[in-house]
Symmetry: C2
């Protein structure tokens, strides 16, 4: 199988894991599980669970079932953040990836509750690992700590807060980097770190993954800014030049298009170089990173 | 010290624990910590952490510091649920306990994010126990599992979902009981269960606490319905007869005032009788339960 075929298979596997991760409730609260499923199974690149899985594999982890609990938990946290981000009081988006957003389909109250439920269920899912793998409780504890920290006010939520506060304001390049590092970067860092932790990697390796993931997250986000300027609406599936129209501070606005492209290349090159220290010949992971960064949409 | 004096001291201790539990951020995301603190330190009876603490003491737990992490986590979860409940798309409340609600002070977007941040930080706080008490990781894992389950769709959120769906509709007494058991009861159950788990109690004892807490939670909630009919606005600090005005289904509407009062007495008597099996002479805990149930407001 070539890279594209392999990636497709892996995404299908992740979709299956996500589907299986949700509870099968037969009760009065059924509607919330429906709303959780609607948002969790809305497609997407599944970058976070995929990076977690590949990092786990790189460090020769062998308990797939344990890993799957955390892959699902991670994607639930990412999904809840999108559901809440789309709410009228936040970005007020009616569509995401061509589908109606959760609060449009289920109502604003259920949108809030479905987000809460996904966040809570992420930790429930991760914590269920204690029962299933009691002999791994130290690893599980460490992984839950990372998940909490990188999703919280020192991670993703912290980035969202500053992003919300910056809307419609002139912000500095430093603030922009802060937002990117936390809002997008933190969960990518957590994904690779947790993959390493669960596979039994050591402290140095875990912090190595954190640094690599930081570069990947930043490159990914800068590429987003670049595509808004260089792509077409047809390819991107959403309006281009929207940042300019909204007078939004972006990496391209800050440093210019050429410098932004250079930065993506440098970050990407550094990330791959660092990765090779841990696993010299992991061509799938390298191709994955390049496909994530140098993407067309 | 008599009961009232002792209770006052204990509440002050809990306030201190909560205050210490919040992060001291010096960064761009400061505002979110302010909003978390505003809602977490807004007073209240602190029923959940107090029941956790007393259950812990009853089972001779001796690691106060470990307990405190979970007391704080529990109150954070309770608080986030209030912050989200007050949002315009939910109950749309501008005041709670005589203070402006979080979204009124900080804006609706920050209200959503502060709730998310409190829920996330609850799990972060609980998970920080792994680092501080690595030798207790099995207990900690079990406690986090209970916290997640009782706060989620099979617990508090499940109750909220059905409550939101029932608004303005005729519901059955059974649905009312379902809502009370999950929305109010689940966190009270979790509080006593976690107190027992952390103190090293056995499976039978933990499930005993769950059953006792279920009765306490139900009695507490029925008393709420009774007070709405029998109290005065001055004593209660909020409008009385509001349930009747809103044509809301309550236990009093369902069974009548006398039967509701009987039910509270029976539940309370049963709970205390059960408790005495575990600790024959815990007068503080008994007085606490009675003061929580037979309260004036």
């Amino acid at each position: 199988m070539n890279f594209k075929e392999l990636q497709k298979v892996k995404i299908e596997q992740i979709e299956h894991i996500l589907k299986e991760s949700l509870p099968k409730v037969q009760g009065e609260q059924n509607i919330i599980v429906e709303a959780m499923e609607y948002s969790l199974l809305a497609g997407g690149k599944r970058i976070r669970p995929m990076l977690m899985q590949e990092t786990y594999r790189m460090f020769q982890g062998e308990q797939e079932e344990l890993l799957h609990l955390f892959m699902a938990a991670m994607e639930m946290i990412h999904t809840y953040s999108l559901v809440h981000d789309d709410l009228p009081a936040m970005d007020d988006d009616e569509y995401r990836r061509g589908r109606k957003t959760t609060h449009i389909v289920y109502g604003e109250d259920m949108g809030i509750l479905a987000g809460d439920a996904l966040l809570n269920y992420a930790f429930e899912t991760a914590a269920s690992a204690f029962e299933k793998f009691p002999q791994e409780s130290l690893k599980i504890g460490k992984a839950i700590q990372i998940l909490g920290k990188k999703a919280g006010i020192f991670g993703m939520i912290g980035g969202q807060v500053v992003d919300v506060q910056s809307t419609g304001k002139q912000i500095s390049g430093e603030t922009l980097e802060f937002i990117y590092r936390l809002k997008t970067g933190a969960l990518i860092e957590a994904s690779m770190m947790i993959g390493a932790v669960l596979a039994g990697a050591g402290t140095e390796e875990i912090s190595g993954m954190e640094k690599i993931a930081q570069k990947i997250g930043m490159a990914f986000q800068i590429q987003d800014d670049i595509l808004d300027v260089t792509s077409t609406t047809q390819v991107l599936g959403k309006p281009v030049k929207s940042d300019e129209k909204n007078e939004k501070m972006t990496y391209v606005v800050w440093k210019g298009l050429d410098k932004a492209k250079e930065e993506v290349e440098e970050l990407s090159r550094e990330a791959i170089k660092e990765l090779r220290k841990y696993h010299p010949k992991d061509t799938y992971l390298e191709e994955l990173l390049e496909s994530l960064i140098y993407r067309e949409k």
